[in-house]
């Protein structure tokens, strides 16, 4: 009887959106986790809200506003990254809060009611318009193409930045590219879990996958599988129980992370008692 809902366009859109989000967050999230870019990604995700507010204010699509604004911020952070070095952490905190503030300010300045505001903050996978789905799909194809073409170099630069420099790889350009890829992924995930929860989807599935993967490709594949379980599971649960989808997805992911920690503990304890 549950399968009956597959006949609805909104539900098909939600399924496709969940899969697109899972593929991109599994792949790019793996880089985020191994290169320790978690706080930078959190900053980018929250700054995206500034673009949502500007979008409302200018009367353009807030989703497009978020896409443009996030890419702009990523370009800014990526360009000054090397010069700032140790202040990066602070800078990310500033961008994080300032982006949110810009969003709130512009929404307040916009006359009338801002529809879907809650959706941009916390996500609503069940209310994704078909046109946004197309943009998500397009971004996902761009992300995949770049990762496939640059796989060896992106791995080298996330593994050992200094050695990549000694090999005369274009390290600065590659890291800028990686930050732009994270921004694109933030945009893809925005509709599904919202700016506040993006960081969870970007880090939890790869963090689980890393424990079981011996190389980066395996880690990416496992984290796509884990993310799919969480987003699609969250989608069905939120529909069945009529609770917010973004929060359900993240809590499922958190549950998965807890299970992984438990499993690791038991396995390790087992190994110790045997050894």
């Amino acid at each position: 009887m549950m399968l009956g809902i597959l006949g609805f366009e909104f539900f098909r859109n939600a399924l496709i959106a969940g899969l697109i989000a899972s593929i991109t967050c599994g792949i790019i999230g793996s880089y985020v986790v191994v290169k320790r870019l978690v706080s930078m990604s959190g900053g980018l995700a929250h700054a995206a809200f500034g673009g949502v507010g500007i979008g409302y204010f200018l009367g353009i699509d807030p989703f497009l506003g978020a896409a443009g604004f996030t890419l702009g911020i990523a370009l800014f952070i990526g360009t000054i990254r090397e010069k700032f070095g140790q202040y990066m952490e602070t800078l990310v905190g500033v961008v994080w809060a300032a982006g949110m503030a810009v969003g709130i300010l512009f929404i307040a300045l916009t006359p009338g009611y801002a529809p879907e505001l809650f959706g941009f903050l916390f996500g609503n996978i069940l209310l994704i318009p078909t046109k946004d789905l197309f943009l998500m799909g397009l971004l996902a194809v761009v992300i995949l193409a770049i990762v496939i073409a640059g796989f060896n170099q992106l791995m080298a630069v996330t593994f050992d930045e200094e050695y990549s420099r000694v090999m005369n790889l274009p390290v600065t350009a590659l890291l800028l590219l990686l930050i732009l890829l994270i921004a694109l992924t933030v945009v893809v995930l925005l509709r599904v879990v919202g700016v506040i929860l993006v960081i969870a989807l970007l880090t939890i599935p790869p963090a689980i996958a890393r424990e079981y993967a011996k190389d980066l490709k395996t880690m990416m594949a496992l984290s796509v599988i884990a993310a799919s379980l969480f987003t699609l599971g969250g989608l069905f649960l939120s529909y069945a129980l009529d609770v917010p989808s973004g929060a359900t997805i993240i809590l499922l992911a958190t549950g998965g992370f807890g299970l992984m920690l438990l499993e690791r503990r038991i396995t390790r304890a087992g190994k110790l008692s045997v050894g």
């Binding site: 060896n152 790889l169 011996k214």
Partner: protein, 255 residues
């Protein structure tokens, strides 16, 4: 090769207001196994970073294979400090070693060719870890990890190998094996290593210098008492404790 492989003339380096290298002269010739020893904070890693072109010298000239270090990089294999190495990264030994070929691949996509893969096999064989190819680096022991880092440096078929503290975190038998391995590489290769551990100077070393901001050397494999005193600023018997006697000749002989 006519000139020296590495030539530093009056190289000084100031890092955030602190002079780290002070008018350092260094000549490493083809076929040398050159060891630079010195206390922690004596500028050893800075010296290597200057030679690799990762850090500009504040003054003086640096030439590697007679040219600018950045241009010479494709002929250099580099073994970074074990302590700063990211061993938790999900990568197999073979993939890690293979990544050392990337600098030699010209196409923008940089796919690995058959040649690259056979070069990786050879480097793994040379370092004695071919049987570990498919293991993730996180599972390796200290000595195996050090071999993997050296294999990655060798896979680009370098003419100059630069090692930063290669004997830290490995036990004595492994250290002896590693030095034997370096010695076996020597024909056709020049090796420069830095270490803070005077005990780690093997009989295979052909030249030694002491570095503590300034550099002290007799351009031979002998470490003299005056070099050590100048570099370490402490009574020699304190640091020389347990060192094979051969490193200390009589003062007269050194002069």
């Amino acid at each position: 090769m006519n000139g020296p492989v590495i030539e530093l003339e009056k190289v000084s380096c100031v890092l955030s207001g602190r002079p780290v290298l002070d008018s350092v002269d260094l000549k490493v010739r083809e076929g040398d196994l050159y060891a630079v020893i010195g206390p922690n904070g004596g500028g050893k890693t800075t010296l290597l970073r200057v030679i690799l072109g990762l850090l500009p010298a504040s003054s003086g000239t640096v030439r590697v294979f007679g040219s600018d270090p950045v241009q010479a990089r494709s002929r250099i294999g580099y073994v970074p400090q074990y302590r700063t190495f990211e061993f938790h990264y999900p990568v197999t030994v073979e993939e890690m070693v293979l990544s050392g070929r990337l600098g030699h691949i010209r196409s923008p996509i940089r796919r690995f060719s058959k040649e690259d893969r056979s070069a990786a096999q050879k480097a793994l064989e040379r370092t004695g870890i071919l049987h570990l190819s498919h293991r993730p680096i996180a599972d390796l022991s200290g000595g195996e990890r050090q071999r993997a880092i050296i294999a990655r440096a060798l896979v680009g078929e370098p003419e100059l190998l630069i090692l930063d503290e290669p004997m830290v975190y490995v036990d004595l038998p492994t250290e002896v094996q590693l030095f034997d391995m370096l010695h076996d590489l020597l024909p056709g290769m020049t090796i420069l290593l830095v270490t803070h551990d005077i005990g780690a100077i093997s009989t295979h070393v052909t030249r030694v210098a002491c570095l503590n901001g300034k550099i002290f050397t007799h351009d031979t494999s002998e470490i003299s008492e005056e070099m050590l005193t100048a570099a370490y600023h402490c009574p020699v018997d304190l640091i020389a404790h347990g060192i094979p006697h051969r490193v200390f000749r009589d003062h007269e002989k050194v002069r």
